[in-house]
């Protein structure tokens, strides 16, 4: 699946929700399901400090595809991270670099990606693209 196909899949899933409660319960469950990043990877250089919540992000390259692992101390942030990873992971650096993430807006979570929300998510997205750029130069 391409990044956009995955985005569309997420959007379709979210269309089912009747109200914010359903949506946030789903996000929270995603957050809970996302495997914890091992403590060993929660090192200073992987941390993205938001004023409100912290995010850890690491990336590996396998078969010319990038694998992201991420974690957060806030569960809603983690739920959104889980969606981000689902959409972006296992893609080539080029795909990631060229991707445009419209699904966040479409599923009504835009406020969480406001640069002023300071939950670390905006920086995380930036960082994911930085990884893609870094790896693409290695390919």
């Amino acid at each position: 699946m391409t990044i956009n196909e995955r985005q569309d899949e997420v959007i379709e899933e979210f269309e089912m929700f009747e109200d914010w409660m359903d949506k946030y319960e789903y996000l929270i469950s995603l957050g809970k399901e996302l495997p914890l990043t091992e403590e060993a990877k929660k090192i200073e250089e992987n941390i993205i400090k938001g004023c409100q919540s912290r995010v850890w992000l690491a990336a590996d390259m396998n078969d010319s595809k990038i694998q992201f692992t991420a974690d957060s101390d806030a569960i809603i942030t983690k739920g959104i991270i889980s969606l981000m990873i689902r959409v972006l992971t296992d893609s080539s650096p080029k795909e990631i670099m060229e991707s445009e993430l419209y699904f966040i807006d479409k599923v009504g979570l835009k406020e969480h990606l406001s640069p002023t929300r300071s939950n670390g998510l905006v920086s995380m997205v930036k960082q994911m693209k930085m990884y893609a750029i870094a790896y693409s130069s290695k390919v």
């Binding site: 914010w20 946030y24 929270i28 409100q52 101390d73 569960i75 809603i76 969480h112």
Partner: protein, 407 residues
């Protein structure tokens, strides 16, 4: 003096009847900023629609009208805080600006290598960073009064710290995170005994009671109007005349000078010496409206009401499993910080917002205090006189629901 009736009072604040996310707004973020009564909004409106002109330098009617209204505001603040002279009331940008003016103009003039500045562990960044910057520059030492588990200053430690090296004690009147009301009068008295000056950060105090600067004997007292039911972008720096007269100005510009030549510039008298440039005229004028509004209220009854809100909310919050209150000082204003075991403050904040409730989450610009308690942040509900017991109930119900979702 009218009897205090919270339902009547709420009608003075247009924003309190709005909805957020389809629910009536429950505004419990008064520690961050307060809402404004219609009279304050009207004052701004009327100024811009009828009297707008630059002040202090014009002979034409509009300029005279605006100047008079602006200077009237200064006098109103003077009386409200019980300052001796109106020129001891300097208008600033806000609390942060006030601290920086003193840390710079006073600090650069008075601090020498080896001198000591004392602050507290519960200070807002605005009363930490300016002192770090100037201590760094002047090679002075910054000392910190520790806080006990209840969130109170350890006075014994303070007394031990004081010496003739102490030049300044800068501390918060009411902690924005813990709600602790500090024994400012006693702290000032002790500081004066060793010849130190005291700056009080009254940012939170002014929403709950008028500070009496002369009774406290504060050397400098700073606050902003936006937490005091007034406009944004204006604050007050009170300073004793003899101290302000001695130190050089902070900023240069129009209004703060007497004469300017390229060879020599002489500075104007107080308060103008510290008020370079065109001030925030509309906010100055609205300040007068804010002071008029709050002095029209019955503060004895408001005090009772706020303490009731505090006690009721504290009791109800404590019923929530895993909830821990951070800050249980004996003297406390209507500010409550708490954490919930296994739940991140951000998550709680996001969920209760969906139910129309505005609380603050995070470190509240008091990171060292968070470190002291070994936490990342708290959820903070801060009440103003227009909040109600019913709103506390809405908060409690929302928290219970949110916690159920999150754990």
């Amino acid at each position: 003096m009218k009897k205090f009736n919270v339902n009547d009072i709420r009608k003075d604040f247009p924003i309190l009847s709005r909805e957020v996310n389809g629910k009536p707004l429950v505004y419990l973020d008064n520690g961050a900023t307060s809402q404004k009564p219609q009279v304050v909004i009207d004052a701004i409106n009327s100024y811009y629609s009828h009297d707008n002109a630059n002040i202090h330098r014009g002979v034409h009617t509009l300029s005279q009208v605006a100047t008079t209204a602006y200077e009237e505001a200064r006098k109103k603040i003077q009386h409200w805080i019980n300052a001796e002279l109106s020129e001891e009331v300097l208008f600033t940008k806000g609390t942060t600006d006030g601290v920086n003016i003193i840390s710079n103009a006073w600090g650069r003039f008075h601090l020498q290598k080896g001198d000591e500045v004392i602050i507290t562990e519960m200070e807002h960044h605005s009363n930490i960073v300016p002192w770090q910057m100037i201590c760094d520059e002047r090679q002075a030492k910054l000392k910190v009064i520790p806080v006990n588990d209840a969130g109170e200053l350890q006075m014994k430690e303070y007394k031990k710290m004081l010496s003739e090296k102490t030049k300044m004690v800068a501390l918060v009147h009411i902690s924005n995170t813990l709600g602790t009301i500090n024994p400012v009068k006693e702290i000032i008295k002790l500081a004066h005994e060793v010849g130190a000056k005291v700056l009080v950060d009254g940012a939170q105090q002014v929403a709950h009671a008028a500070p009496n600067v002369r009774d406290l004997d504060a050397d400098f007292y700073v606050f902003g109007l936006h937490k005091m039911f007034g406009p944004t972008g204006v604050g007050v720096l009170y300073g004793k005349k003899e101290l302000l007269d001695k130190i050089p100005p902070y900023q240069g510009g129009g209004d703060m000078i007497k004469t300017v030549t390229f060879e020599k510039t002489t500075y104007n008298e107080l308060p103008h010496k510290f008020e370079a440039g065109t001030p925030n005229i509309s906010a100055g004028i609205a300040t007068a409206a804010a002071v008029d509004y709050i002095t029209s209220l019955n503060w004895d009854e408001i005090h009772v009401h706020e303490q009731e809100l505090l006690n009721y909310a504290t009791a109800e919050l404590k019923k929530i499993k895993g909830l821990k209150i951070i800050g249980e000082a004996r003297e406390k204003a209507s500010v409550i910080s708490f954490i919930v075991e296994g739940v991140h403050a951000y998550d709680l904040g996001v969920i209760v917002d969906k139910m129309g409730i505005a609380v603050r989450t995070g470190h509240h610009c008091t990171q060292p205090l968070m470190n002291r308690f070994g936490i990342q942040g708290t959820i903070r509900a801060s009440f103003a006189f227009y909040n109600t017991k019913e709103e506390v109930d809405v908060l409690i119900a929302a928290l219970n629901r949110a916690i159920k979702m999150l754990v």
